[in-house]
Each structure stands twice: as C-alpha cells, then as structure tokens.
C-alpha cells in the first residue's frame, strides 16, 4: 500500500476536479477512516431505539462495531462491542434490554456504561490489573450527544461541538421532527441494507444529484409514465408510480424551480422537486387535509404554515447521514472498504399523524430505498459502474465543476447553486474532506464565493 504525504492529498483536490485515486486507493481510505470517521460527528441512531435504561442496539460506525445504550441514570452511552479480556464481541443480539452486558467466553460482566462489574477467577493477575481502570472496561466513545432525538458520536476527546457541527443544517432535523403533530418521531417499519462495490463518498454525492434521474432512472420513468391508473392498486403502487413519474421532471424544472444549498462541514440539502398532490402536503389530498387539520389543532395555523413552507428533499450531513422529512426517511452510510459500501435505511413514524401517513412512508421507502426498488437498483448499478470506471488506470482526474462559476452566497453562511443541478454540494464535501484530512480551514469554493 502506497503512503501519501499531506501534500499529495492536498494536490488531489482541485477547486473543480479531484483525483480519481480518492475513490480507489486503499491507503487514502485508511486515512479517511482515521481522520474523518475517527473525528467527525457521526449519526449512530435515534433515541426511540433506546427509550428506557437498559435498552440497547448494535450499530456499525465506520468499520467499528458498537453498542448504543441508555445507562441506569438515563444517560446515552456508546461502547465498542469488545470484551476487555480477550476481545470477543460481547453483545450478540441486534437490539434488546439488559441489566448488564456479559461476555459468554469467560463471564466478564460490564455495567451499562461499560465499566467492569465482575471478573471470573479474579486471582493471580499482575499487580497493575485494576478492575476499575478504563483498560478493563468496554471501551467507551468519548463524546455522545443527541439533537432532538438524533444521536451522534465523536471519537475525538475534544473538538467542535455537535451544535457547531450541525450549524444551519439543524433546521433540517427540526423539519423532520416539527412535522409530527405530537412533536415526536419514532423509528419504525424495518430497515433496508443495500450494498455496492464502490467508494462510500459516492452515496452522498448522488443523493443531492438533480441531474441524474433523467438518465439513470429512465427505465422506471418510462414504465411509470406508461402505466394505466385504472389498474388495481392498494395505494402502495400508486405512491411508487407517482414518485417514479416525478423523477421524469425535465431539466428546465430542475434548473428553475429547485435549489441546492450547502453549508460548512460538508453538509447540503436539495430543495423539494415534487408537485404531486400525494407527495407533498397539499389540501387537494384528503389524507393531507386530515393531517394538516391535526397539526393545526396542535400547533396553530401560523406555525403549521411555517413548517409546511420548509420544502427540502434530501438533507445530507457529511460524512455518514442523509434524511428527508416529507416521507420521514433516513440513511446511514457504512464504509466497508475502499470499494465496498453498505447503506442502512430507516423510517420514522410521526406521533399523532394519521396511521396512513406512516403506511405511505413505508410505500415510499420501498420505492426510493428498497433493495429491490425499480429506482434504487439503477443507482446501485451506477455506483458499481463508477467503481469499475474509476478502478481502471486511465485518466487521473474527474470533473466536479458544473455550476462552479455561478454558485452564490446564502444568507445563512452557506453557498448555494444558482440552480439545483450545480455540483456545489460535491465541491462542498471535498472542502470538508480537506478540512478533516489536512486541517485546511478555508476552502477553494468558499473563498471564491466571498471574493
């Protein structure tokens, strides 16, 4: 494996193009795991998964297996799922409730916060063997914080606060939660885990890409446009087909009616591109009328107007999270290796909303996030093709320059594309990449915009 100096890495990211090795070089991947995933705030789960002390679930953070739990005092804890004795995985069930964690190899037992509780055959150890020491604990992640139910960790002892990391993008999480009439959402409805043979960065790069549906999703757009609405549907197919048809919006629509916004730390969101009455909360649809009525009774007309005017499609928090509020979807990126990635996708139920809203969330998840979806399968194919293309020793550079000359400052300190087809969100992610990898504070595109 070749090693890279910081100067090599710095040279690999130009303002409007990047070196393809950033997607294919195992040595760079190792550095990313250390300098990005080892430091940045990462989404690990939602508080509705650990409501009560003793509740826990397992998750994969970067390449690390972790247990997220709530201890006896109600505090959130995130532990590496490794026994301090011989390193065995301690917790084996995906989720559950426990009073303590016990390794079934030799019975070492841990408190919910990871401290060692009991050791079998505790005799004859060297003098420095201390059951109170962090060395004999399940290793705890130093920083765990949640924002409105969304749990994040940082594996760095100190650094940017979660609040500063989120910045203006906290408003996207607000949008996710504010839409629930009772002011609370809960994770529900299962999970998809889909995989592809290419680099982890490609996933978030695609989720705000307004220019690909016209080409990539052509087969499902055509098939949906040709579908007769007279044919029987229990509602599931209707949601799916309406969504596929919306992907066929022409470029003029993307150029003029949708926006793309980016913010520090690599975050971005794409404006909502839907005008279908069943896909955006409109008074033309009886279900949305019922929902808006409930929301207004709880929050008042003015607040509901404010909530529904927030029109965002995917919001991406670099480096591992993407979510969308309209249909309560969330995806987490798990880098496996430089050319293998798994994405877990989740759904939320809005408390107090009509149950049919949640069922529509499920139908929507099947079509946009499903491993067997008519849409997502073409995205996975594209990631695989990029993996193959970039893995070939041909041209060294790839272009991320669309919209470069027309990006504009945003009132909240970000940079927005003149229209939604700008690749500003990719440039913005590489700015963050440089920040994490090299400590570069100022970024090429941000400097250019303020010049």
């Amino acid at each position: 494996m070749q090693t890279h100096s910081n100067q090599d890495l710095r040279n690999a990211v130009q303002p409007a193009r990047v070196n393809r090795r950033l997607y294919t070089d195992p040595a760079i991947f190792e550095l990313e795991m250390e300098r990005i995933f080892g430091v940045a705030w990462l989404y690990v789960g939602h508080e509705s998964q650990v409501r009560n002390p003793g509740d826990y679930f397992l998750t994969q953070v970067g390449r690390k297996a972790m247990v997220v739990t709530r201890d006896e005092t109600g505090k959130l804890r995130v532990l590496h799922n490794q026994c301090a004795h011989r390193g065995a995985m301690v917790v084996a069930s995906d989720c559950g409730h426990a009073k303590e964690f016990q390794c079934v190899y030799h019975g070492w037992t841990y408190h919910l916060d990871g401290r060692l509780k009991a050791v079998s055959l505790n005799h004859g150890y060297p003098q420095d063997f201390d059951t109170k020491s962090p060395k004999t604990s399940m290793l705890q992640v130093p920083r765990v914080e949640s924002y409105r139910g969304f749990i994040f960790i940082s594996q760095a002892e100190s650094g940017q606060s979660l609040k500063d990391y989120l910045g203006h993008m906290a408003t996207s999480i607000d949008d996710m939660v504010d839409r629930a009439p009772d002011g609370e959402i809960e994770m529900a409805g299962g999970v998809f885990r889909h995989a592809y043979n290419a680099n982890w960065k490609l996933y978030l790069e695609n989720l705000c890409d307004a220019a690909h549906p016209w080409f990539t999703h052509r087969s499902s757009i055509d098939a949906a446009q040709q579908q007769s609405d007279e044919v029987y549907s229990d509602g599931t197919g209707e949601i799916a087909i309406r969504q596929m048809r919306q992907n066929g919006a022409p470029y003029s629509f993307w150029e003029n009616q949708v926006g793309i916004w980016t913010y520090p730390n690599g975050h971005s969101y794409l404006g909502d591109y839907h005008d279908d009455k069943k896909l955006v909360a409109s008074m033309e649809d009886p279900l949305f009328r019922e929902y808006i009525g409930i929301l207004e009774a709880k929050k008042g007309k003015e607040e509901v107007k404010r909530i529904l005017e927030v029109r965002r499609w995917n919001s991406n928090l670099y480096p591992n999270l993407s979510f969308m509020s309209q249909f309560q979807q969330l995806r987490v990126v798990h880098p496996i290796s430089v050319n293998r990635t798994v994405v877990s996708t989740y759904n939320f139920r809005m408390k107090g909303a009509p149950e049919q809203m949640f069922r529509n969330t499920i139908s929507f998840a099947n079509i946009v996030n499903g491993t067997g979806s008519l849409v997502l399968t073409d995205d996975l194919e594209i990631y695989n093709r990029i993996g193959i293309g970039l893995g070939s020793d041909g041209a060294d550079w790839i272009e991320i320059g669309r919209g470069y000359l027309s990006d504009v400052r945003d009132e909240f300190g970000g940079l927005k594309g003149k229209n939604s087809t700008s690749e500003v969100y990719i440039r913005n992610m590489f700015d963050a990449w440089r920040g994490y990898m090299l400590g570069d504070e100022a970024s090429a595109s941000q400097m250019k915009a303020s010049a």
Binding site: G190, R193, Y196, V231, D234
Partner: protein, 166 residues
Amino acid sequence: MTATATKIDAGLSRSECESFLVHEARLLDDARFDEWLALFTDKAHYWVPSEPKQQSPLDTVSLMYDDRRLLETRVRRLSSPRIYSQEPRSRTSRIVTNVTEEGANGGETLVRSKFTIVEYRREEQRLFAGTYFHTLVGSGRNIRIAFKRIDLVNCDAPMDGLVVPF
C-alpha cells in the same frame, strides 16, 4: 361436512400445483416476463418481505411489495432497453421443489414450496434460497396467482440490488 363442500374445498391437486410452479419458474428463467405477469390475477399482490416472519407489507418495508399496478410497471421496466441495472442481463436458473398444499378455501389453494435460484451477471454469481407461498385460483390452463410471498432465507442481510423477480 357434505360431499359437495369437500369437493369445492379440495382445491388443486399437488401435481397440478407443481406443474404450474415449474411452468412459472421456466417463464422467469427464460425472461418471458409478460407471460409471467399474465399468470397473476387482476388484484394480485407479489411480496418479498424484508424480515423473517414479517406480518404485514403495509407497516414494514419489503424488498419488493407490488400490487397489480406496480407489478405491471416492474415488468414493463424489465423489458426497457434502458434498464441499466440489466445491462448486461442476468441469467437465472431456478429449482422449485418440496411442493405441499397447505389448505384450500373458497376456490383458493395455498401452496408452499422451496426454491433455489442462481443468478449470474457481470462475472458474479449469487445464490438465493427460500420458501414460496402461492395462493392459486382457477384450474387447468387458467390457474392464476392471487398472491405470491417469497421468503428469502437471507432477507435481512445486506444485499446488492435485486432486479430479476423471484
């Protein structure tokens, strides 16, 4: 129970069911998807759960859950020259076996069977296995699928994209 009632509820014979399932598997292996679609009733559902023993397709996500309308769209897309996830096309080989009738009621026969599917595409071969549940109606050459449930043994595993129907 009267003799008449017994006859009505007897449903299809095991060999009729097995012949039908073999025919269906052949249509899928031969990529004759339009003919496969024609095996389904006008109000049929096609379901590949994402969880073992999944109770409902309505409140938990599914690898595939198609009402008749979405199933038609799925099949139409399969024949599109621009379905890039099928360029190159997959080749499949299916074995359907262990066919048992699980009950018959009101002209419907519930049939359980085991399957293995080998899918080859772009230098990679994948193996799928699991259990089919077919709710069949009609008789003779007019047997139709009212409901098909496909339980993959690895339904909750991380998976690459699933395009060819099971």
